[in-house]
Symmetry: C2
Subunit: 764 residues, 2 copies
C-alpha cells in the first residue's frame, strides 16, 4: 500500500523511543529545582461530613515543615469543573468532605518524610453526615445529598433519541430486554500524578498532563487568574487514558499555592495508593436495554436506560453519559432509538473518562444482548452485523455523518481471518469464539477552544522544527505529527525535531489528548502548517527552477517537477537561498496551520447534531479456552479488523489496538476496585491487590487487519485508532466465554472462580 508516500504508512519507530527506553525521558516526578520543598496531601477519613475546624498548629511546629494550607487558602467558594453549569470542585475541601480520599489540607516540608509526619499532626474536626454509596439509593427521595443543590443526587441527564421506539418494537418479530452492569476500574497508568510548582513572577507548574491547556485554564480559574497568568510546562507523561491527567487536581493547586506561600518550588507526587483511592475512575454503569428485530435480523428499535455511578463530583461525567449514546446510532442502522441516562452522585471517588469514555460500558451491554438475540433466533452475529451495518454516506437519524465507513469490510475480513464461520458454535468443548463490533468518534467539540494548531520552522540545513499542540501521552502523536510534516515536505524522519511537551506560554494552543482527536485535529493542523511552509518554499523554487510552483514535488530532500526531473534543487540549498539572499525578502520560512471541523459543540443533554468529524469502526474476534478444572481462561487468538481511515503508522496502530485490547481484557478478567460496603473506602489500593494485568498476564496472539476507508477530512484519510472502536472486545470476550461454557456470567471481572462456579452449576 501507499507507494505514493515516502513515510506515511510505513512502520516508523517512536521518536521518543530511545529516551524512554534508556530512562532518560523526564517524567512528572523527575523534575526538580534547587531549594525545592516536598508536599503531601491530607485526605478525608470519612465519606461525608461537614468540616468544623482544622487545627494545623502542631504540624506547623514540626521542624522542617514550611507551610500548611487548607480550603481557606484558596478563593472561597470559587469552584472549578467541567463547564459553567457543573462547577463543584475546590482545590481543597471548603465546606465538607464527600468521600474517603477527598483532599482536606496540604503540607510543604523539607522532605517527604517530614511532610508525611506533619499530616498526622493536623487535626480535622468533622460533623459526620450520612453517606450514600449506591446510585439507586442516592436517587431516592430523602437520600443524603452529596451536593445540597442537586436534588436526588442527579448530576446530569441525557435524553437522546429519534424515531418511535414503540412503533419499532411493534414492527419487530422479537423483542428482548436485559440488564447489564460494569464494575469500577481505574486507568492503570504506571506513572502517578506529579506536580512541581514555582510561583515566581508568574504561577508556573511542571506537570504530567494529558490536556495541558484544559488543565491550566481550570487551574487559573480556581485561583482567580487569567489563563495566561499561569504557565504549565508538560513533562513526559507515563500514560493518561483520560484520567485526571486531563484536568487539574488538588495536587496541582496545592503545589502552586504552597510555592506562593513559601517562595520556594514545591513538588507533590501522588503515591499509587493516592491514585487508587482518589478520583477519577471509569464510571460503573447499570444498563437496561430493550431491542427489537425482525426474525431475519433487521434491527427495528432500541431503548436504553443507563445509570452511571458518578461518585462525589461532576468532573467530565455529563459527557460520559452523552457520548455513550452513540451506541444507538452506530455501528448499526437503527431507525428508532431512545436513550435515557442519568449520572448520579455518591460518596465515592468521582469518575470520569477512561479509554472509550462511556462507549465501552454501553456497547458491552448492547453487544452482548445482540449476541444473545442471535443465539435465540439462530442467526449469525456476523451476518446480522453486516446486514445492519452503517455505510459511507449515511447520516444517522439524529445527525451523525459518516464521511467514511469501512465497517462491512471490517466484518468480512474479521470473519475470514478468524475462521468465524468454521468456528462459532463448532469448537470443541470449553473452547469458544466471540465477536464484537465497536465504534468511536474522532474528536468531539466540548466547549471553549477546539481547534488544533501547529507551527513548522524550516531550518537552514533543510530540516524542520515542529511546535505542535498535540500532547503525546504515550499514544505516539509526536511520531505521527513528525511523519505528516516529513511526508509533506519530502524530508526524512531524522530531519524532524518536535517539541516533547507543551508549554502553555508558547506552544500552539490545542485542547489536548481526549476523544481520539489528536491524529485527526492536530494531524490536520500539522499537515496544513507543513503545506504552508511548502507553498512558500515552492514559490522560491519556482523562480529558481523556472517551473510553475504548483508543479513542484518535494521528495527525498529535493524539489523538482515530474516533467523536468533533471531540474532539481536540494531542499537545504533552497532554504539557504531563501534565508540568505540579498533582498528584503530574505526570511525564515515558518508554516502555520490551524484546524477545526464545522461540527457543532456537543449537546450533552439532547445530543443533537453531528458529534464528530469522523467515526472509526472495529470488529474484534476473540477465541478462548477454558480449563474446566480451574476455570482459568486462556486467550488463544484475537483478530481485529479496524477501519482507521488510513494507517499513518502501522506500528502505532497495532500498538494502540493491542494496548486497548489488553485494557479490555484487564477489565474482563482481573481488575476490580473493591469498596467497603459501609463507608466506601477502597479495599485494594495497590496494583497487586487491584490486579492490574501485565503483558505477561495476557500473552496476546493477535492479528491486526486495517481497513482504509480514507476519510475525506482526516489527515491523509486517517481517523481514530485504538481507543473506543477497540473496546468492543469487552463483549466479544464475554460472548466467547459464553460460547465456550454455554453460560453467560453476569458480573465483571470474569474470574476463574466465577467460571468454575458457572460450569459446575450448569453441570449440576
Amino acid at each position: 500500500m501507499s507507494e505514493e508516500f515516502s513515510i506515511i504508512g510505513k512502520g516508523v519507530p517512536r521518536v521518543d523511543a530511545v529516551l524512554k527506553a534508556t530512562g532518560k525521558a523526564v517524567f512528572g516526578a523527575d523534575v526538580s529545582l534547587p531549594g525545592m520543598l516536598y508536599g503531601k496531601i491530607l485526605r478525608s477519613t470519612v465519606p461525608h461530613a461537614k468540616i468544623l475546624d482544622i487545627d494545623a498548629s502542631r504540624a506547623l511546629k514540626l521542624p522542617g515543615v514550611k507551610a500548611v494550607i487548607t480550603g481557606r487558602d484558596f478563593p472561597w467558594g470559587l469552584k472549578y469543573g467541567f463547564s459553567a453549569l457543573y462547577r463543584d470542585q475546590t482545590p481543597l475541601a471548603q465546606d465538607k468532605v464527600r468521600y474517603i480520599g477527598d483532599e482536606v489540607a496540604a503540607v510543604a516540608a523539607i522532605d517527604e518524610d517530614t511532610a508525611e509526619e506533619a499530616l498526622d499532626l493536623i487535626k480535622v474536626e468533622y460533623e459526620i453526615l450520612p453517606a450514600v454509596l449506591d446510585p439507586f439509593e442516592a436517587m431516592k427521595d430523602g437520600a443524603p445529598l452529596v451536593h445540597d443543590d442537586k436534588p436526588n443526587n442527579i448530576c446530569s441527564v441525557a435524553n437522546i433519541g429519534f424515531g418511535d421506539v414503540e412503533q419499532g418494537f411493534r414492527e419487530s418479530d422479537y423483542v428482548r430486554e436485559d440488564e447489564f452492569s460494569t464494575q469500577a476500574i481505574k486507568h492503570g497508568f504506571i506513572e502517578p500524578h506529579a506536580a512541581l510548582s514555582h510561583w515566581l513572577d508568574k504561577a508556573t507548574i511542571w506537570a504530567n498532563k494529558q490536556s495541558p491547556y484544559v488543565a491550566s485554564r481550570k487551574m487559573a480559574m480556581a485561583l482567580g487568574l487569567k489563563p495566561s497568568q499561569l504557565r504549565l510546562i508538560q513533562t513526559y507523561v507515563g500514560a493518561g487514558f483520560g484520567s485526571v491527567k486531563s484536568d487539574p487536581q488538588s495536587l496541582d493547586f496545592c503545589s502552586l499555592v504552597l510555592s506562593k506561600k513559601t517562595g520556594r518550588p514545591v513538588k507533590i507526587v501522588n503515591t499509587m495508593e493516592d491514585v487508587l483511592v482518589m478520583g477519577e475512575g471509569r464510571h460503573p454503569f447499570y444498563v437496561k436495554v430493550k431491542t427489537g428485530m425482525t426474525k431475519d435480523g433487521m434491527l427495528k428499535a432500541m431503548q436504553v436506560y443507563a445509570v452511571a455511578d458518578g461518585g462525589a463530583y461532576t468532573s467530565i461525567g455529563p459527557i460520559t453519559i452523552a457520548l455513550a449514546a452513540i451506541s444507538t446510532d452506530l455501528p448499526y442502522r437503527i431507525p428508532n432509538a431512545k436513550y435515557d441516562a442519568v449520572r448520579v452522585f455518591t460518596n465515592k471517588a468521582y469518575c470520569g473518562s477512561l479509554r472509550g469514555h462511556g462507549v465501552p460500558q454501553v456497547r458491552w451491554a448492547l453487544g452482548q444482548q445482540l449476541d444473545m438475540m442471535c443465539d435465540d433466533l439462530r442467526l449469525d452475529f456476523a451476518e446480522v452485523s453486516l446486514k445492519n451495518a452503517v455505510h459511507t454516506g449515511d447520516v444517522t437519524p439524529r445527525g451523525l455523518k459518516l464521511y467514511s465507513c469501512g465497517l462491512s469490510e471490517c466484518i468480512e475480513k474479521a470473519v475470514g481471518a478468524s475462521e468465524w464461520k468454521q468456528k462459532r458454535g463448532k469448537l470443541p468443548p470449553y473452547r469458544g469464539i466471540g465477536m464484537s463490533v465497536g465504534t468511536y468518534v474522532s474528536g468531539v467539540k466540548i466547549s471553549g477552544h477546539n481547534s488544533a494548531s501547529c507551527i513548522v520552522r524550516i531550518n537552514e540545513d533543510g530540516t524542520a522544527s515542529i511546535q505542535t499542540g498535540a500532547t503525546d501521552v504515550g499514544q505516539g502523536s509526536s511520531t505521527i505529527v513528525s511523519m505528516i510534516v516529513a511526508e509533506v515536505l519530502g524530508l526524512r524522519m531524522e530531519d524532524i525535531t518536535i517539541n516533547s511537551g507543551i508549554d502553555t506560554d508558547f506552544t500552539p494552543i490545542d485542547p489536548g489528548t481526549y476523544g481520539s482527536r489528536v491524529s485527526f485535529f492536530s494531524g490536520n493542523a500539522a499537515k496544513l502548517a507543513a503545506e504552508d511552509a511548502k507553498r512558500q518554499l515552492a514559490e522560491e523554487a519556482s523562480k529558481l527552477l523556472g517551473v510553475p510552483s504548483e508543479d513542484i514535488i518535494f521528495r527525498d530532500r529535493k524539489v523538482y517537477t515530474a516533467n523536468n526531473p533533471e531540474k532539481v534543487l536540494k531542499i537545504d540549498s533552497l532554504v539557504r537561498h531563501v534565508g540568505q539572499k540579498i533582498s528584503a525578502e530574505n526570511k525564515t520560512v515558518w508554516g502555520r496551520g490551524s484546524f477545526d471541523f464545522d461540527s457543532p459543540y456537543m449537546d450533552f443533554t439532547k445530543g443533537e447534531g453531528n458529534l464528530s468529524p469522523a467515526y472509526a469502526f472495529g470488529v474484534d474476534v476473540i477465541e478462548v479456552e477454558v480449563d474446566p478444572e480451574t476455570g482459568k481462561i486462556t486467550i488463544l487468538n484475537i483478530v481485529g479488523a479496524h477501519d482507521v481511515g488510513k494507517v499513518l503508522n502501522p506500528l502505532g496502530c497495532e500498538g494502540q489496538v493491542s494496548g486497548c485490547w489488553l485494557m479490555c481484557l484487564g477489565q474482563c478478567m482481573f481488575e476490580d476496585l473493591k469498596r467497603d460496603k459501609v463507608d466506601g473506602h477502597v479495599l485494594n489500593p495497590s496494583f497487586l491487590d487491584y490486579k492490574l494485568p501485565t503483558a505477561m498476564d495476557i500473552p496476546l496472539k493477535a492479528k491486526h487487519i486495517f481497513v482504509e476507508s480514507n476519510d475525506p477530512n482526516g489527515p491523509f484519510g486517517a481517523k481514530e485508532a485504538g481507543e473506543g472502536a477497540s473496546t468492543g472486545l469487552l463483549h466479544a470476550f464475554r460472548n466467547a466465554v459464553a460460547d465456550a461454557i454455554g453460560v453467560r456470567i453476569h458480573d465483571l471481572p470474569i474470574t476463574p472462580e466465577k467460571v468454575l462456579k458457572a460450569i459446575n452449576q450448569k453441570k449440576g
Copy 2:
C-alpha cells in the same frame, strides 16, 4: 512626545527586572542537571609551542575523574571560525599552542576540586617555539609565524577609500598627521562564560550566549554535525558586549564532548581569571591619521593607517578593521578618504568585538586630531563638526545611505545644554570640557542567515505570547520587543509574555545580538508579526462590527473605529470568537514576521556598498576637574545628545547610553590588561588588579537628550542606541582633560600618576 502611542516612548521597566533583582533569573552557571559532572580546562603555560605529547594517565587514575579529552577527541583538522576564509580555531589545541591561556585539555570529574586537581596531573610535552608579541615585530620578515599559512602574520587587511586623498590634501590649507594607540581591555561582564551539556539523543547545551544561533552553528561545524543536530538553550546572560559569548569557545565544545564521552551532563564554568587570560578582548589599535582641512574648517581629505593587534586567532577580527573604516565616511562629509588597515597575529589572547567594534579606537584617534586641528586653527570643534556634518539623504562616496540623520540637531542641542560656548577654553584652571561626535551602524550583514523573525500567538484571554529570536543579554531587547507588540495590538505590557531565552530547536531564527541590530531587525520582525496577527483579528472584527477592517483601531485592549467609537469589542471577546466559533475557520491566531534589509553582505576587504540600513549619531560633552595635587580626575557632568531615530523606551535608551559612557570612562581612566613583555602572560588577571570600575568609581551626573530623526525603515523610526555612537566619549574625555591641563596625554588609561606627571612637566 508620542501622544499617538500608548506604550512606545514611555519609560517601561524591564520585563525581567523582578527576576533579576530578586536573584531568581537562571544564568549560565545556575543550570544544573541530576548526575552532573564538573569540567575544567587545562591552559597552555607557554606562548608558542608544538605539542609533542599529552599524558593524561595520572589524571585518569585520580578517583572521581571520569574523562580527560584533548585535541584528539575532536575531528582532526576540522576548524571553526568567522568564515570559510578565516577558520583557524579548534576546540582544544591540535598542533600547537599559540598563547599562554590557549586550551590544551579538559577534565570531567565528580566535583570542581577533583577536576582542578586532575589538571595538575596532566603532563604536556612541548617543543618551545619563538613567540612574537608586538604586531609591528610580527609583520617583519622572519618573525615567528603564529599560523604557518599566514605570511608576516597578516590575518586580514581592509583597503577602503574614495576620491583622491592627495588631491584633497593639496586643496587643504592645513594638513596634520598624528599617531594614536589604544590599550588592551576586556569586556568586563560580571558573569563568566558557562556551559552545561547533555548529549542524549542529540547534542544539547545550555549556555549564556549572546548570539545563540551563530554559536550553535559554529559548534555544530567543529563537531562535524548539521546545525539542527545540536540544540543550544540560552540561559539568562549577565552581559556580553560582543565577547566570545557571541561565539563558541573551548568550554562549550569540551562540555559537549565530555558529556558524550561520559554519558552524563557536564558543566564547565570559567573563573574570572580564565576570562581575563583567554580570548577575546578589545583590539589594541595603532592609528596613524593625516587630515586636511581648509582654514575655515571644511574637511578635504583623510588618510588612515591602522594596525590592529589581533592576538593568536582570527575570531571576528576582519570585521573589526573593516567596520572601523566608517569613521572616514561618517559623521563628517569627507570627499577624499583612504583607509588601510591590517590585523596582525601575535602570541597573545585573541581579540574580537567589544561595544562599538573597532569604531571607538579609530574615532578616538580622529576625534582627538580634529580637536587638535581646531585648537591649531583657533576654530570651534562644535562649529567645525556642524559645518562638516552629514545630513539625511546623504549617500557617502562609498555608498553608505543616510535615510535619517539628526546629527546637526544633536550638535546644537549638546552645545546648548552643556553651555559649550560659554565654557570651552574659558573654564577656571584645572577644569576642562571636551566634545565628541560618534556614529554607528544599526546592524550589518555579515554572512549566512541575516533576517530576524518573530512569532506572536494571540491567547484566548486577549493577551499575546511572543517568541522572538532577539537575544536579551541585558540590553533590554525583551522589553523593547514586548513594547512593540503591545503597541501594535493595543495591549498593555502585563498582557505580554515573551520567551526569556533562545532554544535553537524552536525559537525564531535570528543571528543574535551584535552590531546594534536587535531593535532594528528583531524589532521590525516583532512589529511585522504583531501586524500580521492584528490583520487577522481585524478581519474578524470587521465582520462583527460591520466596518472596514482597515479602519479598525486596536487600543487599550479594545477594537473600534474612529468614526463609530460606540461600536467596540474587547480584544479578549474577539479572540474567543475567533477561537471558538462553530466553523472550520475556528483557529488560533498566530502572527509571523521576518525582517531583513536589502543591503549587501559586508565586504570586509574593500568595504564597498551600504553597510547598514541605518546609522545613529551621538554628540557627547564631558566636563572634568583635575586635582593638581593628586592628578585625580573628577567627572563633573556629561551631556549627551543622541539621534536614536525614535526613543522606544526612554529608560532603556538612557540606561544604554549611560552604560556605554561608564565603559568608555573605564577605558579612559582605569582599565588596562597588562602583559609580561617576554611571554605575554596577563599580569593582572582579576577585576581588582585590572581595575574594572563600578558605578561608585564614576558617579555620573548626566543629561540625556534624544533626537528623533524617525528613520523610515526602523521600527516606529528607531535605530541604534547606546552602543557605538556613544563611544565617542573616549575622545571627548581626552579633549576635556587637555582643556583642563593644557597637555595631551598619549597613552591610555589616563591615570592620576600620568596626569600629575604631565602637569609637573608642563609647569617645569
